[in-house]
Symmetry: C2
Subunit: 193 residues, 2 copies
C-alpha cells in the first residue's frame, strides 16, 4: 500500500489532534481546518473516521507484538529478556509517542468487531509478559509473586512513558537511555536502598 505525502500528512495531523483532544472530541472538521482544506476533502484520504483510529491502533499493536515475540524467541535468561523487553518498549514509545498514546488512551473508541479483535490482541500481549515472568519465577530468578499483579505492575511502569515525548518541551525531555537504566533498576530491585 503506497502512501502519498499528503495522505501521510493528513494521518499524522489527525494523530496529533486526536491525541490532544481525544478521538470523540476531534471532529473531521477540526482535522480539515488544521490542514487548511474543506472537510469533504478528508474523504479523499480515508474511508471513515473510524479507519484513522483502526489503522494506527493495529499498526502499533503489531509492532509491540513483533518485538515481544523476538524477545521471547531469544536465548536470553528471563532477567535479560525482561531487560530487553523494557528496552524495546522504551524505544518504541520514544520514537512514536503519539501512536503509543493512542494505543493507551483511545482503543475504547473502536467499534465491534474491531474492538474485540483489539482486546484479544492486548490480552495476548499480557499473556506473553506473564509467561516471561513465570519462567523467571520457575528458574528462581524472580521472586515468588502473584503473576497477575506482577504483569500489571510491570506493564503499568512502562505505559506512561510516551507522555514524556508528547508533552511540550517546557522541561527537558527524559533521555531514553537514562530512563531505561532507572526503570530497569526500579522493576528489578525497587526503590529501597
Amino acid at each position: 500500500m503506497k502512501v502519498s505525502p499528503k495522505k501521510e500528512e493528513f494521518l499524522q495531523e489527525s494523530l496529533k489532534l486526536i491525541h490532544e483532544k481525544g478521538f470523540k472530541a476531534t471532529t473531521m472538521r477540526d482535522i480539515a481546518e488544521r490542514l487548511n482544506f474543506d472537510v469533504s476533502n478528508s474523504y479523499n484520504y480515508i474511508k471513515s473516521k473510524q479507519e484513522i483510529l483502526e489503522s494506527f491502533l493495529f499498526r502499533t499493536s503489531n509492532e509491540f507484538h513483533k518485538t515481544i515475540d523476538n524477545v521471547l524467541d531469544s536465548n536470553y535468561s528471563a532477567e535479560d529478556k525482561l531487560k530487553s523487553l523494557i528496552s524495546s518498549h522504551i524505544r518504541i514509545a520514544s520514537e512514536k509517542p503519539y501512536e503509543v498514546a493512542l494505543l493507551v488512551n483511545e482503543w475504547r473508541n473502536l467499534k465491534e468487531p474491531k474492538l474485540n479483535e483489539f482486546v484479544t490482541l492486548r490480552d495476548t500481549y499480557e499473556k506473553k509478559v506473564s509467561k516471561l515472568l513465570e519462567d523467571g519465577i520457575n528458574n528462581k530468578i524472580f521472586k515468588q509473586m502473584d503473576i497477575r499483579i506482577a504483569t500489571s505492575v510491570v506493564l503499568a511502569s512502562l505505559r506512561w512513558f510516551y507522555d514524556e515525548y508528547t508533552v511540550k518541551k517546557n522541561e527537558k525531555n527524559l533521555n531514553p537511555i537514562e530512563f531505561e537504566r532507572q526503570i530497569v533498576g526500579f522493576i528489578l530491585s525497587g526503590i529501597l536502598l
Copy 2:
C-alpha cells in the same frame, strides 16, 4: 447538601455508564433509558452533563488529597509513609473503583476552567508524592533516583488497580490486603530474587 435517594441512584448509574462507554460516548438518553425515564427528567437531578463529571472528579480528587496530606503530616519514616500511602490508595480504589476509574480515564473531558483546576490539583498531588520520595532519598532510606521517574512509576504502579474491581467477576477479584502486600514488596524491592 442533601441528596435524595433518586438523585443518588441517578448519579451512580451515570457513573457506571460513563465508565462503560466513556463520557463523550454516553448520552443523556443512555442514562435516562437505563433508569427507565425520559431524558428531560434527568435535568431534575443535575444542571448539565458536565456537572456529573465535575462533581465526581473533584470529590474523588479531594479524597486523595486529604489522604496524602494526613500521611505527610504523620511522624512515620519515609518508608512507612510510602507504605501508608500505598495502603490508602488501594483502599480508596477498592471501595470506589468507578470513581477512581473516572478520575483516571475521563478528566480530559472537563472544560475550562475546570480542566485547568483539575490539572493543577493533579500536579499538586504528584508534587506531594515527589516530596515524600525526595525525603526518603535524603534520609538514605531510598536509593538515589530521578525523582520525576520515581514518582511516575510509583503512581503508575498503583493507578491500574481500580480495574480489578470494575471488571466482571469471571475471575476471582484480588484481595486488597494481599494486593497491598505484593505491591509494597514490588515498589520497595522489585521483582529480582
